[in-house]
Symmetry: C2
Amino acid sequence: MKRIKCELMYDGSRFSGYQSQPRDRTVQQEIEKALWKIHKKTSVKTHASGRTDAGVHAMGQVLHFDTPITMPAERWARALNGELPVDISVKQTEEVPETFHSRYSSVGKEYRYRIYRTPYRDPFRTVYAHHYPYPLEVERMKDAAKYMLGEHDFTSFCSTKTDKENKVRTVHDISFIEQGDDLEIRFTGNGFLYNMVRIMAGTLIKAGNGRLEPADVARILAARDRNQAPQTAPAEGLYLWKVHYHSTFSCHPVPGDLHF
Amino acid sequence: MKRIKCELMYDGSRFSGYQSQPRDRTVQQEIEKALWKIHKKTSVKTHASGRTDAGVHAMGQVLHFDTPITMPAERWARALNGELPVDISVKQTEEVPETFHSRYSSVGKEYRYRIYRTPYRDPFRTVYAHHYPYPLEVERMKDAAKYMLGEHDFTSFCSTKTDKENKVRTVHDISFIEQGDDLEIRFTGNGFLYNMVRIMAGTLIKAGNGRLEPADVARILAARDRNQAPQTAPAEGLYLWKVHYHSTFSCHPVPGDLHF
């Protein structure tokens, strides 16, 4: 058996999230259907770095699977793309050691949250960015973000629907990229809880529009209570951008930033 | 009655084109439905600069309508956007003299055709650009485009389904913007026939991939026969970018190039 690591992108707008569910269309289901065809109607189980919710996009989701088929590892990308629907695309495949696991070997992740602020909704971005046509003071958002950096118990920034016991995570960096009416917030950390990036984004927006003081973030974190944090920001602005692994798990140098 | 000129954008992917048709969802139908609501269930007829086909997008379609409602002309944009679906957005509205007609007063148009050339399909661009993962020599495309410039009988570059008698049009400019894997072809002219931009784009692609000599364009034009020209390029790459009018019809200075 060979273990194949697979980096993929998907437009989340027509999926009920990543993870397989009866009845609904999901990314995992489409990938396992493609693998089932390639393996002559034998089921192949995939393991992803984590789930994404309905409407959330991915530029660099990672999964792995084990296969008895022998072909050059990079050819898997073409084989899968030949079977996948138009809203999923495999960017790269490579063979990895058996000790690699897309979820447990991950040492960090990057998520990006996209906001656009034109007075009217852009029909081309309805499902690709969060439309927020009100004033936002980015300096206040940056001040609020500083309180989120470092190691914290993020219970207040986690959906109560989670099944995770340990809510301690480390946020390495939160940066803001402004370009005209566009505002992108980039979050990197060692891991993120269920809805964590979207609750952080909702909190930063509320700091930006003046309805929350940046220093309130410290109080919200300390409360360890989801009800203390603002609303979850909409799914359409969120992109799972990159999953990081120790370089021992890759024959490739760490790739530079992706342009989009 | 006041005449209102309206500039709008739409994502053409979920429309069966611009013009109203029984049963199918069209842009015109959605706009007239919005106007019907604003006019307390009275029908209002709209006139557009021209139709766009199923799947074709618009960044600057123009239409006009006459209304007995008195409100500051620029407020119409907000009123319409409040009633329109998410895939249509009104960018600007202004009052124009009764002598203005969105179609007959037009002095020219710009269309853009977008191609992207990554090895694999990009799930975020499936319906927003034409995926062409084969080699294209842009210099050959530029050479072929030169034969299309100026005044010609464009019968060979017009769908036989047209109802237009006069097939003489003037193409003012065809420019190529390359950025990494992206190639955008910008066409400006005094007017374009049914499918004309898409047949020109299909012809330029065939010159770029070597299956047509640039000089063949002269022969194709002279033949005045649709069968002599290559295939119509797919709708998803095409954007009606701008409709031009004499400045006497606008209180605004001619706007600069739009970034997208």
